[in-house]
């Protein structure tokens, strides 16, 4: 596992990996940088405000961010973010398992 060379990095996937899970209509997405040096960039890029702005139709509720500084990771809890959740969503991915790649596809801060 290696992160890409600095001049090639454009999206979050270039510096970090992530996994998403669900509970009811709440999604959680944990995101970890490969290199400790990139953790500051990750924190600058992935603010709750920015994520909400990027996907306003999907992430309808509050977004909380927990910081696990010693492991260089962030955990996002996204309320009302699963189109009703597995009980109601007619999305093929009603658990929102693929939401991790919404985050990993976001552009890095300059």
């Amino acid at each position: 596992m290696t992160s890409r060379r600095r001049n090639q990095r454009t999206i979050v996937r270039d510096i970090a990996h992530a996994r998403a899970g669900d509970k009811g209509n709440t999604s959680n997405i944990n995101v970890w940088t490969y290199d400790a040096d990139d953790y500051g960039l990750l924190k600058r890029t992935l603010t709750p405000e920015r994520i909400k702005r990027e996907f306003p139709n999907l992430f309808r509720g509050e977004i909380e961010r927990y910081e696990i500084d010693h492991l260089h990771g962030l955990n996002f809890v996204l309320h009302d973010a699963l189109e009703g959740g597995v009980n109601a969503s007619l999305n093929l991915d009603s658990h929102g398992k693929s939401w991790s790649y919404l985050i990993l596809g976001m552009a890095l801060d300059p």
């Binding site: 996994r19 970890w32 696990i68 007619l90 999305n91 919404l102």
Partner: protein
């Protein structure tokens, strides 16, 4: 039991209801395990199991129980490995009796199978009970309840371990509790030692999804390559008396255990990392350390814990009618345009011609499906599939949905092919909290 000196070895033999069996058999044979846990229940799995049991009182347990027990009982008996599982789902008694019969058939005379009951609280919680995560009561859902199950903790499992059961089968045993209970027994951890309960719950949380910590659900070619995923090994936890553990897997299996695979699982389906609620403890994962300890070996330590929640969580399953899904494919030049035309035709037919008002969704896979609501769409593709989904309490509406998509074979855009459609039962689950005094777990032993 047949472990190694100084550590307690717990392996996972299933991390969800449909998980693989052959790597579990390999682990049972070569893993020198003290305990193998098969975690096979989700909220919806229980609800579906209740439906199965309502249809046939002899069913309602994991549909792979027979195949799993046939393959795992002999090697686990040979190595002295105790099996703990929630494969009983909505009918642990039938699952235990079936396991006893399989053991007899295999000649494993004397095998002791403990059946844990008491999680099924159907009909004991009134309709007026408030919902946990939203306003309203159970009655406000307005659909028939198929079953209710309280999450049982380690205290419900310990008596079965103390009775030296070879196999322990329950219904809604909480996932981490199936790992914590044998650790409490082995090391004498007390209910008051909440940090140790937190450490054991961390082990359970990391292990309960099986291969999600040994390289499964992780690979992303080019940045996160994982070798041999077709032969991925299940995880093993070597747990010390202080609750610290090494996560590893069998040599010769595929997959990978790395700091990164452990991190992704550490906060999988966790909200506040400092307050992970189980029936046993409020576990604190916020200061957990993760450190590589050789090839495919990662050490975890420093979990904490505070007093357990006062109340027990109950999953309530409702019959939600039917889920209809149907699809047809288009390929070649401007396939996307033809797929979009098909979507418009089906939408008009269902809502205008048939007047269907049930929730319906029409996607064109290849242009916009999973991320459609998020706003990520493409205009064109050379290979797309119309996907229509509808949830309804009227079976005829579900049938109409399949019929309309199939009719595109003659009435739709050019070149459509590959119609498939299916109607499946739909369930809905909600959570409520109840007093612990309402739940009285029991253990009954069945001997082969």
């Amino acid at each position: 039991m047949a472990g190694l000196p100084g550590v307690f070895r717990i392996g996972t033999g299933a991390g969800f209801s449909s998980d693989r069996l052959d790597p579990a058999v390999d682990l049972a044979k070569r893993g020198r395990l003290d305990v193998m846990v098969l975690e096979c229940l989700g909220e919806r799995t229980v609800a579906f199991a209740h439906r199965d049991r309502l249809a046939d009182p002899r069913r309602g347990y994991n549909s792979l129980l027979e195949r799993r027990m046939l393959a795992l009982l002999p090697p686990c008996r040979a190595s002295g490995t105790q099996i703990i599982s929630n494969m009983g789902a909505a009918n642990p008694r039938a699952a235990a009796e079936r396991t006893r019969d399989i053991a007899r058939k295999l000649g494993l005379i004397g095998l002791k199978i403990a059946c844990i009951e008491g999680d099924d609280v159907t009909n004991t919680v009134p309709d007026t009970h408030p919902l946990m995560d939203e306003p309203g009561t159970l009655a406000h859902i307005g659909r028939p309840i198929v079953g209710m199950n309280a999450y049982l903790g380690a205290d419900a499992i310990l008596p079965a371990i103390e009775a030296k059961a070879d196999v322990i089968i329950g219904g809604r045993l909480a996932d981490p509790s199936m790992y914590l209970a044998p650790l409490m027994h082995r090391y004498g951890w007390k209910n008051s030692e909440t940090a140790l309960l937190g450490a054991g719950s961390l082990v359970g949380h990391l292990m309960e999804c099986g291969m999600q910590i040994t390289g499964g659900y992780f690979a992303d070619p080019g940045v996160k390559d994982v070798p041999g995923l077709d032969q991925c090994g299940y995880p093993i936890a070597e747990v010390a008396a202080d609750g610290s553990a090494v996560i590893t897997k069998l040599p010769g299996t595929g997959g990978r255990v790395s700091e990164a695979t452990v991190k992704e699982q550490l906060l999988y389906e966790v909200h506040d990392p400092a307050a992970y609620l189980t029936p046993d403890v409020t576990a604190d994962f916020s200061r957990v350390t993760i450190a590589a300890d050789g090839e495919d070996r990662v050490g975890v330590a420093n979990a904490g814990g505070r007093a357990r929640p006062d109340k027990l969580k109950v999953t309530v399953g409702f019959d939600a009618g039917f889920h209809a899904e149907a699809g047809i494919s288009y390929a070649g030049p401007f396939a996307g345009a033809r797929g979009k035309l098909a979507a418009a035709i089906v939408s008009a037919r269902l809502t205008e011609t048939h007047g269907i008002k049930s929730p319906c969704r029409v996607d064109v896979i290849g242009l916009n499906s999973l991320f459609a609501t998020a706003g990520a769409t493409q205009d064109e593709s050379r290979d797309v599939r119309l996907h229509v989904a509808l949830r309804t309490v009227e079976r005829e509406e579900a049938e109409t949905t399949l019929w309309e998509v199939e009719s595109l074979l003659c009435c739709g855009p050019a070149g459509g092919g590959g119609f498939r459609g299916a109607i499946t039962p739909a369930v809905m689950t909600k959570s409520v909290l109840i007093d612990r005094s309402l739940v009285k777990p029991t253990v009954e032993m069945f001997v082969a």
